[in-house]
């Protein structure tokens, strides 16, 4: 499942709720990743951030990533939740999770979800620093 959220969300609560849908005893592995807003970036303090997206395409693209993960690995399910709009330091920005029988698939799929999202999903961050607003120029390759 994929979801966009315009307000703060608790990724651990979301995982707990979502996981109840899955068949008990069938998955042995859940790898998940939570990205949250730091109060610093590239040496500057960041007091606020705005996340713009492309309504329609963003949702469609996140679903594509989930579908691709399901094709590549034997998953029971996967989940992506992503914030949009105004974000404060320490807010959760993204949650990706993958459930499978064995750990290898859940790790690989969870990593795939976040990497594809970071490099291909239409989201754009604008940071508010002491020096004013600035667009984040580019996500790094698998290291950000």
């Amino acid at each position: 499942m994929i979801e966009l959220r315009t307000t703060e969300f608790d990724p651990l609560d979301e995982l707990a709720i979502y996981q109840k849908r899955l068949a008990a005893g069938k998955y042995g592995a859940c790898c998940n990743f939570i990205g949250s807003m730091r109060d610093f970036n590239e040496g500057d303090e960041v007091s606020k951030m705005t996340l713009e997206h492309y309504p329609g395409m963003t949702e469609k693209f996140l679903q594509t990533i989930c579908d691709e993960a399901n094709e590549k690995w034997p998953l029971l399910d996967c989940l992506i939740i992503h914030r949009t709009g105004d974000i404060n330091p320490n807010d959760s920005i993204v949650l990706t999770a993958a459930w499978s029988a064995h750990r290898d698939a859940s790790f690989a799929a969870c990593r795939y979800l976040i990497e594809e999202l970071k490099h291909r999903a239409p989201f754009w961050k604008k940071e508010n620093t002491g020096q004013g607003e600035r667009w984040v120029s580019e996500n790094t390759k698998a290291e950000d």
Binding site: V94, H119, R120, A121, F123, W124, E138
Partner: protein
């Protein structure tokens, strides 16, 4: 041939618009649509393009009724 054009993030600010409609008699490419809708501004080198919410490259030709979008490298997550 009518086309809807969308600009996002820094390109929305650069062009000063989020949406535009353009009309053409002959088939045009994504790059042609940029030129027309942006008022002949130069396109930043790393600009990404989508037609009807699917990634395409700058030389892809547009069809009547298409929605073409321009945006900078993505920075979500």
């Amino acid at each position: 041939m009518n086309i809807t054009v969308k600009f996002f993030a820094s390109l929305r600010e650069q062009t000063g618009k989020s949406d535009a409609s353009i009309s053409y008699a002959e088939p045009i490419s994504v790059l042609d649509a940029w030129k027309q809708a942006s008022g002949m501004q130069s396109m930043p080198e790393n600009t990404l393009c989508a037609i009807n919410m699917e990634y395409v490259n700058h030389s892809t030709l547009l069809s009547d009724g298409d929605e073409v979008a321009f945006f900078p490298p993505v920075t979500g997550g």
